[in-house]
Point group: C2
Chain length 265, copies 2
């Protein structure tokens, strides 16, 4: 029996949070809450971003279950936090900054496309859709923004305190940038959802496509216009990235700049 989206949502939101932490991270409560208040969406998992020190076998980066967490923080950390954590290492410790990640189940493919578009335009370039065989559609919002530094080998520290101090600063800067991106995502999301709602309200009157693009609310229109301009800028930036690829077709996207969810996202 195929479940409906509403049943899935109800089931998911009523379920116990079985994650290690057991609750939504504070810095993204508003994002999760906004999404769960929409009838088109609900969140299935999330992390606001974290600085984490993992101890494990050298090649076990895929199998986190065999690793020990020496330290974890969803806020900025101090050099002492990392030094204390590293003192407990008995295998290979790695310092990671893992950015904001969010999985959003979407009612229809169009809803998932909207979510993906908002994510890409907010700087989450590794985002993507998943379309399951049972009809489950999920947009994963992911960033390219990371840090992954080996710091001990067989329990032996590989770096001095000065370097650990520098890494602390780098990880904290990434945490700040991460929060800026979450904020940008939240603002773009609010704006996109408002526009969607207005368009739906207008639909029964069959407005012209011109009107659809520019809802009457002046504030929203201005926001949207601004957002469109910045989206364009970001696309131009992506254009310039393309030469970094080993093999790729740069020109196709120059011709199709209007295709927001184009290549290299």
């Amino acid at each position: 029996m195929e479940k409906t989206f509403t049943q899935w949502k109800k089931q998911c939101l009523n379920k116990l949070d079985l994650s290690k932490k057991g609750s939504v991270d504070q810095d993204i409560e508003h994002v999760v809450s906004l999404l769960n208040s929409c009838e088109e969406y609900f969140t299935t998992s999330s992390c606001s971003g974290r600085i984490i020190l993992i101890d494990g076998a050298p090649e076990s980066d895929v199998q986190k279950q065999n690793c020990t967490w020496l330290f974890v923080s969803h806020q900025k950390c101090t050099s002492d936090d990392l030094v204390s954590g590293l003192a407990k290492s008995s295998r290979d410790a790695v310092l990671k900054f893992e950015p904001f990640v969010l999985h959003v189940q979407c009612r229809r493919l169009e809803d998932a496309q909207l979510m993906h578009s908002v994510a890409i335009n907010s700087g989450f370039r590794n985002s993507g859709l998943t379309v399951g065989k049972t009809g489950k559609i999920i947009t994963a919002i992911r960033s390219t923004h990371g840090l992954e530094v080996p710091l001990s080998h067989k329990g032996k520290l590989l770096a001095g305190h000065e370097y650990i101090g520098f890494l602390t600063q780098t990880a904290n800067q990434k945490m700040e940038e991460n929060l800026r991106r979450i904020h940008r995502f939240y603002q773009n999301l609010q704006s996109a959802l408002t526009t969607e709602k207005l368009q739906k309200l207008q639909l029964p009157d069959h407005p012209s496509s011109q009107e659809l693009q520019h809802p009457p609310d002046r504030l929203v229109t201005e926001k949207e216009e601004k957002s469109k301009r910045s989206v364009y800028k970001r696309r131009r930036k992506r254009e310039q990235h393309k030469t970094d690829c080993c093999h790729g077709d740069k020109s196709s996207s120059v011709q199709e700049l209007d295709d927001c969810l184009d290549l290299f996202t």
Copy 2:
């Protein structure tokens, strides 16, 4: 005018390769070639994986265009390669291992789902679909497997030769693991495409669903069975990862293990 998939494919494959390198990386020529020989797919950009030393402003990790490449290799590297590269740093140098990445344009959503499924089951957990407004469907195949180590600040080296030696070893191990995953992806892809073809050939005769799952070719069936078993194992592994998430619903996927393209992919 909406372009058809065939037109897109023709246009893309006839185009000059405008990437920095200008050609497909040797280690993935067979993968790109296999995909481009299928009528359902073509590749739009790719990189086999690389070790790269980038020099840039501290917070410029998103804007690669303002960075200098101090060193890049699609093969294993030596400690001397990195030391020589670092000697040229005048800003903030970062050593990165960037794994295999591939963008595949797909004819239909089902084709993209198949590609995504093969990617996930081969260990490329950050893969995802992009569905454009013009009908363009792209599966991005991405790994979580990385390395990102700051090594100089304002041109001043932050690490000793011993540490750089260790990083060289780590980056080279990741390169090896990357090649293993590409090989696994290629094998799973071949197997999935063969099964697809056989199923299509059988369709006009309306075989039972049992027959559809087990095409007559004994070799393929065995491969598929083996692949199914390893997929199951990998799913079980993912189950165990889930507690690492900050907020998430572990149990939903336990109930739906048969939904290959489920959460947390």
